[in-house]
Structures are given as structure tokens and as C-alpha cells.
Amino acid sequence: MGGYGDVQMIDENGLRMDGRSPGDIREVTIETGVIPVADGSCRMTWGTNEAIVAVYGPMEAHPRKIQRQDRAVLDVAYNMAPFSTTDRIRPGFNRRSREISKVTKDALESVVMLELYPRSKIRVTIEIVSAEAGTRCVGLTAASVALADAGIPMTDLVVSVASGKINDVVVCDLNKEEDNYGEADLPMGILPNSGELVFLQMDGDLSQEEFSQAWEYNMEAAQVVHGMMVEALKGGGSQ
């Protein structure tokens, strides 16, 4: 986390520079069926983040050595397009993307009913084409919508939200400027029906009280976003 400098990001009324209250999230839009050749897909914007996700499968897993006799394998890749950030990103190997791919896969495997498709493969590709702050949350949330759009059975959707801290105040869903001066970041992946978790990361500095507040904000925001996901899946539908 950055966290240096003494820039004032919260005004005297407790509002943030973009007018949000501490617990508010940015504007979110969700659209399904956006990739005609995919089995399921989702475009999600969140502030000026934009993630596009394609799901292919269940399909034959090859080479055969990756097959599992009792379940499908889930192949998850998270990537940032070269033009998604202020400074261009060079294509290719990237430790950050590898780690996010792995934890996203870990989260999705917790809900996808892989045992229904032995010996097959389901491929989930998350592309961030515009990045603000919180891309891993947008990607994971959009991925669960795309899986639903593809008709892959899941025990629940996953909603991912992050809260953080600026100017020693806990706030939900940091935007880019807040993130530059942020003192902590707590992304979570929440099952909206049970309130359980499948994804959790955190870095920075949070006291136990601040931590509880951030946790609470995430839980509340997850309910809001969940409503929009359900709406999008009713309305949109894959082509």
C-alpha cells in the first residue's frame, strides 16, 4: 500500500472526494452474452474498471494427463490487457497475474459443481481491459456471472468486494486516487446466500477494530452487488 503523504481524501462531512459515503461502492453495470463465440460470458464495469470474461466448456480435457476421473478441471486465467493502465503493460509472464489467477481459481472451485463433469475441462478467461482499483474483485465477480451464463451449476454465486483505509478512515471500494494513498486493502469473496467466504486477501495495516469495520462494509456491499448480478442473469442470458 502507498499510504504516504498527508493528502486529505475525506471532507469535513465524512464524504469522499467523489461524493461517496464511507460504505458506498462505485457505479456497477453487468451484461451477459457479450462474447458470441463463448459458452458463457460477462462484461462488468465497476467505476472505470472493465472486465470481460469468457467461459468455454465443459469440453474435453487434453492432454489426457490433466484429466481427473471424478471431476472437471477448472482452468482460470486473469490477465490485464496492455492498454488497461496508464503505463502500458508488457504482455507475458507476470507474477501478480499468476497469483490472482490462482486465488480466483481457488475461489471458483469452491462453488462450481465440478463433480458433474468428470474428465472434462471448463476454461474461464478474465481479461481486464480497463483498470482502476479492485480489478481482482471485478474479475472474480464477473467470472461467477459468466459461469452462470454458461449454465454451469454452482452452489452459489461469488460476490467479491474490497474495503480499505484512507486517512485512517475505513471505507468501502477504494477508487484509483484513494488506492494511491490507501493504507490497507481487504478484498473478500462472499457467498451472498450464506455469508460464507471463498476468497480472502489483505495487505496494509488494520487494527482489529478497523478490520471488523472493513469486513462489515464488504458484507453489506456484497448484498447490493448480488442483486444486480441476479438481475443481469435474468435479463441478459447467453445468445
Partner: protein, 259 residues
């Protein structure tokens, strides 16, 4: 890219259609698919475009970096064009280092734009011998239903024409529109069922033979050609598609120029 086995049935079906002057999706030989070109669609890019041709969708984004000019060309900046087809775009595209197909795609689109001279590399100089702009055009496939070449080329030139040089952010003056003096347009033809057609869809690519890419400039001059895949063609066949390309590039150029 993993190479799908071509079903003989598909080839036979395409041949039958061709014999009746028909195509698998109902189009006529020289008819293109529905086309939508949008620009300014990527908030972090200095220029951008989205092209949709039927079910093929691509993005193009322009970014700028400051480079040191090469010693033998102290007054020139550079243009770099990079095409990436990642697994999102279709079930046969795989992760990993760029496949020969993706490399060919990027290089052919790059040549068409570069050789047209539409970007004056001398105009990219900031301080001779010290600083110049490098223009980076990234092409990104979202959905591959065939003919990524034309979609990339069109999105590429549209994104360049949409680009603003971010001089303020780099503290070297005021922002200004990237000067793009020409509008090179690529048209691609695939041999399907024994004859060439314009703007093949993916089933036509799968069951077809060679493809030919033609990039023409504002004055009909040829800037780039490429024959790809296994196949033999005659001078007469080439002449026919070149004639078509002269017409078709004019139509497409109007769309880009009017943006």
C-alpha cells in the same frame, strides 16, 4: 492456436454451396458482415476503437512511451504494433507464447499501417537525438468468428486516428491529436469451396484453403500483401480479388474517415 481437425463433411458442404454461388451464412461472394466501428471506448488508452464484424469483436488501444531515437535516425520516433489473441477469443486459442498464427496476424497488420506512411515518424520527435514518442498499438481479440485480420486492421487505424499524444502527462508540452495523414485499409479473401470470398466467417476459415490479405492506401496504391495457408491460386484469381479490394477499401475508408 490448437489446430482443429477439419471435418470432410464441412469441406464438402462448402463446395456444394460454392457450386450454387452460395455461402454458409447466406451472404453473397463479395458481401461483408454487419460492421460496427466505435471509438474512445477504453478509458486508460490514449486512443481506442472497437470493431464488430458479425460475431467477430476486437479492441485496439494506443499507448505512448518516450524513447531515445536510434543514433542513425535522431529525428524519428517509432511505431510498434502488437497483436494478441488470448484464450478469451475462442476455444481453439490457447495460453502461452504467441503462436505462429498470432505472430503472422500482428506482422501483417503492422506492415499495412506502417508502409502506408500514415504516421509521419519525423513528427514524433520531441528533442532530436534525445527524446521521441513511441506509439504502441495493441490489438486485442474478444471474439473470433473469422477474419481477425480485417477487424484488427480496421480497429488499428481507427484507434490511431482517435489518439491524443499525452504530452502533458509526460511534461513535454501540451496534448495534441496524433497526426495520421492516411487511411490504409485491409481486405481479406479466403478460398472456400474452390473460389475466393470476402470476409470469411470461422466455419469458412475452418473448411477453406488459402487466404490473401491486401492493404490499399488512399490512392489505391498497394502497401502490403500476404498469402497465408496451404493453397495455389492463379494470376486471374488474384486479379479478381484485387479489383474487389479497390472497391471495398473505398467504402471502408469512408466509414473510418467520417469518424
Amino acid at each position: 492456436m490448437s489446430i482443429p481437425i477439419v471435418p470432410k463433411l464441412l469441406r464438402a458442404h462448402l463446395s456444394d454451396l460454392s457450386a450454387n454461388n452460395a455461402r454458409i451464412d447466406g451472404r453473397s461472394q463479395w458481401e461483408g458482415r454487419n460492421l460496427v466501428v466505435e471509438h474512445s471506448i477504453l478509458p486508460r488508452a490514449e486512443g481506442s476503437a472497437r470493431v464488430r464484424m458479425g460475431d467477430t469483436i476486437v479492441l485496439a488501444g494506443v499507448k505512448f512511451q518516450i524513447m531515445q531515437p536510434y543514433p542513425d535516425r535522431p529525428n524519428q520516433g517509432g511505431l510498434m504494433c502488437s497483436a494478441d489473441v488470448r484464450p478469451i477469443a475462442g476455444r481453439n486459442w490457447e495460453a502461452g507464447p504467441p503462436s505462429p498464427e498470432a505472430i503472422e496476424l500482428g506482422r501483417v497488420v503492422d506492415r499495412g499501417i506502417r508502409e502506408s506512411g500514415c504516421i509521419d515518424v519525423d513528427s514524433l520527435c520531441i528533442i532530436p537525438g534525445e527524446k521521441a514518442w513511441q506509439v504502441i498499438l495493441d490489438l486485442f481479440a474478444v471474439s473470433d468468428d473469422g477474419n481477425l485480420f480485417d477487424a484488427f486492421a480496421l480497429a488499428g487505424i481507427a484507434a490511431l486516428r482517435n489518439a491524443t499524444v499525452p504530452a502533458e502527462r509526460f511534461e513535454v508540452g501540451e496534448d495534441y491529436a496524433l497526426p495520421v495523414s492516411k487511411t490504409p485499409i485491409m481486405c481479406s479473401y479466403h478460398k472456400v469451396g474452390g473460389r475466393f470470398v470476402y470476409d470469411a466467417c470461422s466455419r469458412e476459415e475452418l473448411g477453406g484453403d488459402e487466404r490473401i490479405h491486401i492493404t490499399l492506401g488512399d490512392d489505391d496504391n498497394v502497401h502490403s500483401l500476404q498469402k497465408g495457408l496451404k493453397g495455389i491460386f492463379s494470376p486471374e484469381e488474384f486479379s479478381e480479388i484485387m479489383t474487389n479490394a479497390r472497391e471495398r477499401t473505398k467504402e471502408l475508408r469512408k466509414i473510418v474517415d467520417s469518424m
